[in-house]
Symmetry: C2
Amino acid sequence: MTIISFVSGTGPAGFGLAARFARAGDEVVIGSRSLERAEEARALVLQHVPDGRVRAAVNAEAVAAGEVVFLTMPFQVQRQSVESVAAELGGKIVVSMSNPLEVVSGRVTVQLPDAGSLAEEVQHLVPSARVVGAFHEIHVRRFPKLDRRIDSDTIVTGDDDDAKSAVMRLCGHVEGLRAIDGGGLYNTRFVEAFVAVLVTINLRYKAGTSLRITGLPEGV
Amino acid sequence: MTIISFVSGTGPAGFGLAARFARAGDEVVIGSRSLERAEEARALVLQHVPDGRVRAAVNAEAVAAGEVVFLTMPFQVQRQSVESVAAELGGKIVVSMSNPLEVVSGRVTVQLPDAGSLAEEVQHLVPSARVVGAFHEIHVRRFPKLDRRIDSDTIVTGDDDDAKSAVMRLCGHVEGLRAIDGGGLYNTRFVEAFVAVLVTINLRYKAGTSLRITGLPEGV
């Protein structure tokens, strides 16, 4: 089992994933700028997973404790948040899962950073981090609904094959989630931007859609 | 039933779609720069769909005859091909389905045109055309395998709602294909680029993948 940290893990993505991984037997460390809020999130996870191994810490300590670090802050503050724990992120497997999207008067806009994608921006900010893109396709509101399976594929990207494999294995701890190797970190820009289309579809059909890749060999 | 034209419809996409639409009862017009090659493609379609209503014509005449015009040339020549029939494309429903992708030493590269996508480039070249993006997710080799269902969703984009609806209805004539409204033509850039990830997945898994959007309301 893996020690998994969440930077700014007090929101729906951090709480939901922490609870799901804790339920699967992983040890989770919920980080926050405020230790008090991290403790509150920890208590909430333990309500749902009473026997879970759950710690609370300020972000830098959470990162230092984790083998795999999830960035679970709103995308608008991801850059500054990563900068604030850059020293601790060095050498770590870091999962970037946000999409640089905003809905303005019913229209979805994409603002990819200069680095090409949020994931590549993390790589740029912390060159020694082993950055992996994943979970982009899953609507953030799905994570905290612990009684529902995720029921989606997720395309996993990264330049460090061992890091990517580790994250793909972790995906297998989340019920109903299937990880698919989507190539190098460069491809993350296409995934992050494509989610704008999924969000458009959600708005048009008043739905909460996910993605399935069909035609893969048995057992993937 | 609809009269459907194919600009440079002698390749696998044009042949396959022409045969599938002819089988569904639509009238198809296969265009080519060479009338002789158009006639050959027509004969091939009639071999598979003996009672099909199939015509052959040079590209400009094919476009003029069609209610809906599919661009089925290799993406590298789409721009010059569209320019050569720009006058005839005016006012027509035009389906752009190519992706600006190339595989170079096992790596997929994307070269979106200045307009943002191939579909938007067509709109830019022929402002009065009613351009719709569709069929991007379907590997070109699938179209001519007439004994196989397409078995994929396709995200349909466009700024002209009537044109988009017409193309979505036409998608219903292709067995195993489901059309999903993906918003305005602007979103086509995200779809075209995302196909690079699908192609990457195909290469990694030695598979021919397609896409399914899950979580939509019943009956979509």
